[in-house]
């Protein structure tokens, strides 16, 4: 299915990551954004608010808070509109409640978190990458989720489309984990023609309305979806439910449901995984990074290579589900994995787990507020070669 040209601003632009993400959403067919202002993500909502009356067929609303924003986009998606919201750290915390509802009800939606320094109000105008574990585990209960980390305005545009496609394919809220640097850096963004943008359609139920079972899984573990007003008169709930969507309070139903919610992502982890590799074959050290940190790492890697050191790079575009298979393989072939991230060890521990003692894992931490000093990343690489 191709993109609707009305939402696609084809051409070369000079955009910051926030604006590019808004354009990515529009190009992906998003026609409902409910949000609440918070630095450094507000520009996404502002761009959408300015554009949607001109694009047509959609609506923006500034809700009273992030609880309401996240809740409203679930309603919007159930009514048949591609829906998204956008926030930063403190607002992301508030969204965790209804993110869980979206996971339980299996609602295709996209949530952008333009990460800033935390905890709490932290550094509103400065970058962080410390919400990565919150993205994975922030809502209560057990689940799997998809999270993508763009590292440039172009990628903010491109991966918004990927995010919407994943959310439709797997019926799961999909997180776009940007950071303040990516959100506020301005670069060239090329938006392709609508007929070059491939969209994943909703997995629509087309059978007789009276026979519809909203949570009967297909072979791929994903149930078919309808929208409110289609005449299927379905029920959906945040409670543990059976195939009819009716609450069932017992361990058997819980096991069936939660296992499927997890397996539909976990068993497709390799298919979902997007990584970029560079010179990993024969490398002694591989630097693993995501988001803005992967760009900051480039000069450090280049410097090490100029000195004749064998350094590869593995960039994680999707961080959740964790691209476990590739990291496990890689760990068997290198001396060390070096992980620069703007926190004191989040994705690092996932990598350490997957390395399983086969390679040393070296964290290059940073508390946030600014990107890494290139010298620190270089020192991490040198440490890995010892």
């Amino acid at each position: 299915m191709k993109a609707d040209p009305r939402g696609v601003l084809t051409g070369a632009h000079y955009l910051d990551g926030d604006h590019a993400a808004a354009e990515g959403g529009l190009a992906a067919g998003c026609r409902f954004l409910a949000g609440y202002p918070i630095t450094p993500s507000t520009e996404v909502a502002e761009r959408f608010a300015a554009r949607i009356p001109k694009v047509g067929g959609g609506v923006f609303i500034q809700m009273e808070d992030e609880l309401a924003s996240m809740s409203a986009i679930l309603g919007g998606a159930w009514a048949g509109k591609k829906s998204m919201t956008v926030t930063s750290g403190p607002g992301f915390s508030l969204m965790m409640e209804n993110l869980g509802l979206g996971i339980m009800m299996e609602v295709p939606t996209v949530i952008i978190n333009v990460q800033r320094g935390g905890p709490s109000t932290g550094l509103p105008t400065l970058p962080g990458q410390a919400d990565m574990m919150q993205a994975r585990w922030g809502s209560h209960g057990d689940y799997e989720i998809i999270a993508i980390c763009p590292s440039s305005p172009q990628e903010a545009f491109d991966y918004m489309i990927t995010a919407f496609n994943f959310s439709e394919k797997y019926r799961v809220p999909t997180l776009v984990m940007m950071d303040e640097c990516v959100g506020h850096m301005t670069e060239k963004v090329v938006i392709p023609p609508a007929d070059e943008i491939e969209l994943t359609p909703r997995k629509e139920y087309t059978g007789p309305p009276e026979e519809y079972l909203p949570y009967l899984p297909d072979k791929d573990m994903i149930p078919w979806m309808t929208k409110a007003g289609d005449g299927t008169r379905f029920h959906t709930t945040g409670l543990t439910h059976d195939e009819k969507g009716y609450p069932v309070m017992n361990a058997d139903c819980q096991e069936t449901l939660v296992r499927r919610l997890i397996d539909k992502i976990r068993k497709n982890a390799d298919e979902i995984a997007i990584v970029e590799e560079e010179e990993v074959d024969g490398a002694d050290v591989v630097l693993i990074s995501y988001g803005i940190s992967s760009r900051v790492a480039i000069p450090a890697i280049e410097r090490a290579r100029r000195e004749g050191l064998k350094v590869g790079s593995l960039r994680l575009v999707t961080v959740w589900p964790f691209p476990e298979t590739r990291v496990r393989e890689l760990a068997k072939n290198v001396k060390a994995l070096v992980i620069p991230e703007m926190n004191y060890g989040q994705i690092y521990y996932e990598i350490e787990r997957c390395a399983a003692g086969n390679a040393r894992t070296i964290l290059v931490p940073h508390g946030g507020g600014w990107v890494h000093d290139v010298n620190d990343v270089y020192a991490g690489i040198k440490e890995g070669l010892k």
């Binding site: 609880l67 919007g76 009514a79 048949g80 509109k81 409110a228 008169r233």
Partner: protein
């Protein structure tokens, strides 16, 4: 009983009049004997039936609590959401497909305490949804804790010596935030409640019907008020109907007069009317009105 009823094949085949409106495969419901919620659901089903609105176009959204379970029993597209968030969820449904008739049915704790912020803003925006607030004066599902509607001096498990917090006057709250339609009835007043639901559904903008209902298991028992039936008798003897009453006069004190009626009915532009009107002025003919458009 003067005549014995025998179940014949013929009587078995007869459909229940509520078959089309309720999820009979979910009966019996979870509510206690003499709870008012069954009456509220019946009244809503009757109002929907009479309204002539296609049930395919109706969505019911509930939050959490005893009333939160309403969404599960009405045979329309129905959403049992998170605690307090029924109104923003309903807002999303309505905005994404304005053709839907979106009804929120939830309790006083859900809508006025944890969801209070959403309630006031939906009323302020005059979002075109209908809200039915079932007020039993207590948190029933969790075992009888104090609510923002518990009358002064009434006992609750977290006000074990009686409530000293002043309660909200819900119609006054809705009125002051700009709601288009505001009424209060009790679950004893079935006919009037049904009419109010139908009027609220027809009213453009944010419409609110508060329904005072007995909670026999928690509120009545903790306060030694007898059974749900005793509370209905109390409503019978102590409710006063005063249409158009000043909403400031609608406080509910412990076991004293409860004023009922239709208090507010006014026409104010809804959120989407304002949006389309304003963008029409700003963009002129280039603007394609949103609200009339169908969802893809």
């Amino acid at each position: 009983m003067t005549k014995e009823t025998t179940v014949t094949e013929e009587t078995q085949e007869q459909a229940h009049p509520m078959d089309e409106l309720l999820r009979m495969d979910r009966m019996p419901h979870i509510w206690c004997p003499t709870c008012g919620l069954g009456t509220v659901v019946t009244a809503l089903a009757m109002a929907l039936d009479k309204s002539g609105i296609s049930l395919d176009d109706v969505a019911v959204v509930s939050g959490i609590g005893c009333t939160g379970r309403v969404a599960g029993y009405i045979k329309v597209d129905s959403f049992h959401t998170t605690h307090g968030r029924a109104i923003p969820f309903a807002t999303g449904l309505h905005l994404a497909n304005p053709k839907l008739k979106v009804i929120v049915v939830s309790g006083d704790g859900d809508l006025i305490a944890i969801g209070g912020n959403h309630f006031i803003h939906a009323a302020r925006r005059n979002m075109d949804i209908t809200v039915i607030c079932v007020n039993n004066f207590i948190y029933a599902m969790t075992g009888g804790q104090v609510a923002p509607t518990t009358p002064l001096t009434a006992n609750a498990s977290t006000m074990p010596y009686g409530n000293f917090e002043p309660p909200f006057n819900i119609p006054y709250l809705a009125d002051s935030c700009g709601a288009s339609y505001v009424a209060r009835w009790s679950s004893l007043h079935v006919r009037r409640m049904t009419t109010a639901f139908a009027e609220a559904l027809a009213a453009p903008g944010f419409s609110l019907v508060e329904v005072v209902t007995p909670c026999s298991t928690l509120y009545a028992r903790r306060n030694r008020l007898g059974t749900g039936l005793d509370l209905l008798k109390f409503y019978h003897d102590n409710c006063e109907i005063e249409h158009g009453a000043d909403t400031r006069s609608l406080d509910i004190d412990f076991q004293s007069t409860i004023k009922l009626g239709k208090f507010i009915e006014r026409r104010r532009p809804t959120f989407l009317e304002s949006l389309d009107d304003w963008y029409g002025q700003v963009f002129g003919d280039k603007y394609e009105p949103y609200a009339g458009a169908t969802s893809e």
